[in-house]
Homo-oligomer: 336 residues x 2
Amino acid sequence: MGNRGHSGQGLESAPCHTGWNLEGKQIMPLWGGVEAGGTKIVCAVGTGPDDLRADVRIPTKTPDETIGRIVQFFRRYQENEPLASVGIATFGPVDSDPNSPSFGHVTTTPKPGWAHTDIAGIIQRELGMPVGFDTDVNAAALAEHQWGAARGIDSFVYLTVGTGIGGAAMVARTLIHGLSHPEMGHIRIPHDRAVDPFAGSCPFHGDCLEGLASGPALEARWGQDANTLPVDHPAWLLEAEYLALGLVNLLYVVFPQRFIIGGGIMQQPNLFPLVRRRVQELLNGYLQAPVILNQIDDFIVPPDLGNRAGVLGAILLAQQAASREKNSPSSTGSRT
Amino acid sequence: MGNRGHSGQGLESAPCHTGWNLEGKQIMPLWGGVEAGGTKIVCAVGTGPDDLRADVRIPTKTPDETIGRIVQFFRRYQENEPLASVGIATFGPVDSDPNSPSFGHVTTTPKPGWAHTDIAGIIQRELGMPVGFDTDVNAAALAEHQWGAARGIDSFVYLTVGTGIGGAAMVARTLIHGLSHPEMGHIRIPHDRAVDPFAGSCPFHGDCLEGLASGPALEARWGQDANTLPVDHPAWLLEAEYLALGLVNLLYVVFPQRFIIGGGIMQQPNLFPLVRRRVQELLNGYLQAPVILNQIDDFIVPPDLGNRAGVLGAILLAQQAASREKNSPSSTGSRT
């Protein structure tokens, strides 16, 4: 059917989202991305890591003020170039189930004013274009898969260790979305109180992984900001122990081809080698995969995209939303 | 293309694997299933739970003797009715990666004589038909999804708690296969040695979930077979604690729509209610999913297919293998 010449069907069989302008030149579509964090929001326009045409940082204030500024940024951009869609990668927890009535909402966050905010719905109505939506961690994992440390891989786990611990996992090239997005930071691990009497900092679970190994947990345990702890401080051996216990648990469930670990805490230069060695020790030869036994430096790796992963993932969410819109029987404006 | 009448193409567009015999009657294809356990092997022929036409139990002896008897069972059956393919659901660990040179092998099992046995390859060569292959736990999960407690659900976790603890997870209707199949029994959980000084029974990890909560762990801790422990024995409260810690960890990673838990230990009548309550307590309100908060009896459930799940899953593996064979450009005899 694609060979019937210059009919309408010929146009439809062209690559997804590509159009022609009035002079007959091909127009590449542009997407908008929003990475919404607890303290700041990054908005950008582009098509990928080598083509981010505009970006802006907005402090995270009230939902009204903040979402207003996001909408304003994209409206102004559209005065020059049209956007096909926008993707939102946000702090959670969120409702990312497209079949749920509260899809696109931030749900039970303790962040003042933001609980139950319909961030995707408001932006979709204000801009009148398809809006993609997921957690910041899922979006960053998508971007690492498309352009970064997980290129060409079918299954991987992406973890971020910073003010919290978040995780995403791709299985058979699909991100895990069950009843909701994963909350990997809250898994429970062994905690020997004789070695580490710290009770943990998680308000829900005390000594879950996040409660033992996030930045705030390190600060509460050692009485100083994690960034100021020297390289030879015993904090890092304990941190490697907890992270390795977390990785091993994820390994036994997902058995990914690779772990990508980002976040501020992982900037500590000795932490990757310590975690890798401890993972091998904890497995104790049970898993005979060569990549774990002999190439662990390729198995547990830092991200490639650094702090741009979130907003690049948001741009991928925008692409997905435009794709769904194009393939859906109903027309513009729907949020899925 | 399916409406062109009685041409060859018309036959090819009929439902997969259905054929016509010489009198023009439709023949439903038949599949063989092998569930290989550590002590016995079940072979069956059929199309589903309401149509198991023949089955046999074979003790698990040496690979030569045992595989010989499996091949003999299917050869004899084929003297009357042809089989389209055979599926093998086996104890592990196995290599279930179709792209691996050792696909279809049992790998590092401590079972005498069975390590590195090419069970799928031998059966495929002897019977000359497509052979499907996966772990017993993955196969049982497939069967529960097709015919049992996970019908109509996109994501679930299937656990079996008996002589070992094994687990499978389906995400977006696809079983998790990463570098290899999951080994969920070996996740690490908190273990308070002041409450339970038992060191754990896992030869690799001591007090992993399997080392604390499998049948042999119960027997070693309490000095008697788990089946003989009375309903009000403190063993069951501790067992519920460990299983709930395991479920909560799986929940935070996979966030499934349902947990299905089978195996001999789960026959203890009070165990399901104890586990359900403890899961809710451990989550402590962090996950606001109504099914967890209000319908936990529908969230953590026993299997529907009982001890037939493994062999029924093997029949599904056979169907998949026949499907792949039919759709592959090469012809009969390949093992994927």
